[in-house]
Subunit: 329 residues, 2 copies
């Protein structure tokens, strides 16, 4: 690989001049510039990012920390982030944390050691020390609040919408499934649904599901129908759980949506591919990723941030696990 020295030699100028034309900093004669550019071209020169990063103490890398890229909600986020930062010349260094604090810390360390200019993290531990004293800008993604900049979906409103929509469609004995207790997002949507249900003229009961894993959800779904056979509407804690419920219902020949309505949460890509396609509360994952990236970019530029907690809107996607709503609404 050619270095700046080679270019300088070829163009018969000093490295300082080469640096100037490359970075468009300082004065340089038009003619010299041409010579340099020509040399760059001929030698197929590409600046060494590492050297640059060492001197400037910052790279063009951004760290992205996700719980598990294998979970279908996250690829969308990742893609949103990547698309946005790529435009601005940044690249991603990426890791899965498995919601494990040790691993997170390890990654944050790595990020710092590699001079990343910022990090985007979907952590459950936004209050961990490494996030506090950190010398690099951080934005939290899919995680509500803390005191740092963050972008997340309006889970509470999502829960409200889910409950309203299912009630509007005349479910009368509703099961509200509660997600893992350690996830704020899960709590939010649960509480939102509770807001509405508790005020409405319907029976409902709550069922806890401590994970979002499909096999466990399947088991809980089976229990659900055994214990509460009269249920005619289910608000699931997310689309995976909703899928398990749908499975179980279909297995039991329960007619969906005629006799049982189901609403999920997230709108992961495969929800549309189910049969019948799943009605759900959509989180705009891709856009959330983009938004987080934009926020980070702003923070990096020390721009004034008017909204440091960006709450993204959530929408009801009525597919075929819910009935048609009455028109008079």
């Amino acid at each position: 690989m050619a270095t700046i020295k080679d270019v300088a030699l070829a163009a018969k100028v000093s490295v300082a001049t080469v640096s100037r034309v490359l970075n468009e900093s300082g004065y340089v004669h038009e003619e010299t510039k041409t010579r340099v550019l020509k040399a760059v071209e001929e030698l197929n020169y590409h600046p060494n990012e590492v050297a640059r990063s060492l001197y400037k103490r910052e790279s063009r890398l951004i760290g992205l920390l996700l719980p598990d890229i294998t979970n279908p909600f996250f690829p969308q986020l990742a893609r949103g982030v990547e698309d946005e930062i790529h435009q601005h010349g940044f690249r991603l260094i990426f890791g899965n944390s498995d919601e494990d604090l040790e691993k997170e810390l390890d990654y944050l360390q790595t990020f710092k050691q590699n001079h990343v200019v910022g990090v985007i993290s979907a952590t459950n531990y936004p209050d961990a020390p490494n996030y506090k004293d950190s010398s690099m800008p951080i934005v939290f993604l899919d995680r509500t609040g803390a005191h740092a900049p963050s972008v997340f979906a309006d889970g509470r409103e999502g829960g409200r919408i889910a409950a309203s929509e299912i009630i509007k469609r005349h479910s009368k004995r509703i099961t509200l499934m509660k997600g893992p207790g350690h996830l704020q997002t899960a709590k939010d949507r649960f509480n939102g649904a509770l807001d509405i249900l508790s005020k409405a003229d319907v029976d409902f009961h709550v069922m806890a599901t401590e994970t979002f894993s499909f096999p466990e959800a399947q088991q809980r779904a089976a229990e659900l129908f055994s214990f509460y056979p009269g249920t005619d509407g289910i608000i699931a804690s997310n689309d995976i759980v909703a899928t398990a419920v749908l499975h179980e219902a279909l297995k039991r020949k329960i007619k969906v949506p005629e006799d049982l309505q189901i609403i999920g949460f997230d709108d992961i890509p495969q929800s549309e591919l189910l049969f019948p396609p799943l009605s759900t509360i959509r989180q705009p994952a891709y856009e959330m990723g983009k938004e987080a990236a934009k926020l980070l970019l702003s923070v990096m530029k020390n721009e004034y941030i008017e909204q440091s907690a960006v709450q993204m809107p959530v929408t009801f996607i009525g597919r075929q696990t819910t009935r048609k709503a009455d028109d008079n609404e």
Copy 2:
């Protein structure tokens, strides 16, 4: 952030000595070592990877290039790669190429500029110049052959298995769907199925689907049933297409698997979540990622590679879109 100089000062030794204890290179007195380690501890020192990378001309980063992380097949691959390299102290710099050569080149450039020690790429252009003259070790993933090391699934055998299994289960008028022509993997599985079908005592016809996108697949599926209503077995080009076919069949109240069997390809996570769950040919994506990482690590260490084209086995996953096979087999 503390530097090696700070540590040296605190431990009252030279930076050379600190470097020696950190890298366990050269002799250093036990006592001095203790002093250094203590200083490291106290200052919470972590070596600057960038400086190290500049001098050594290699980082601890590995480049991963995937067409689109949003495509459900790839997260598994990515995870496999990450888990494997993480163990060995490497981290990932990651990009989506969208199967676009320009973008790939751009990323390869970035990788090189950042001193990655190797790259794993799922490219459609393994023969592009940037992959040839490259100064960094490369292994291709999910891409068959070229002359470089690669790991991929045995698509041809997969196609054969799919055809055999559907025939064994008594489909008599089979539709074989052919995937995008520019993808070698798609061609392989198609040819494999053709091998078997053409020798078997069944009617079959071929239908081309030029993309793996769901909406288009849906349309093709609709056409399929209109043009060939007699079809009683479908070998889809992948699970997305199979899902579209399944949808359409269900919509038309065709009984699956009684009157129509469907076999997909890939075994993406959601195939199991469909209703009925999809029978398919499984590619061990996670293991493929791991294997690719192992291969790369070997190449990096200049180890002797006995298998530079690692072909991973493919298996039939009989779920509920195929019937039970006869026992006498």
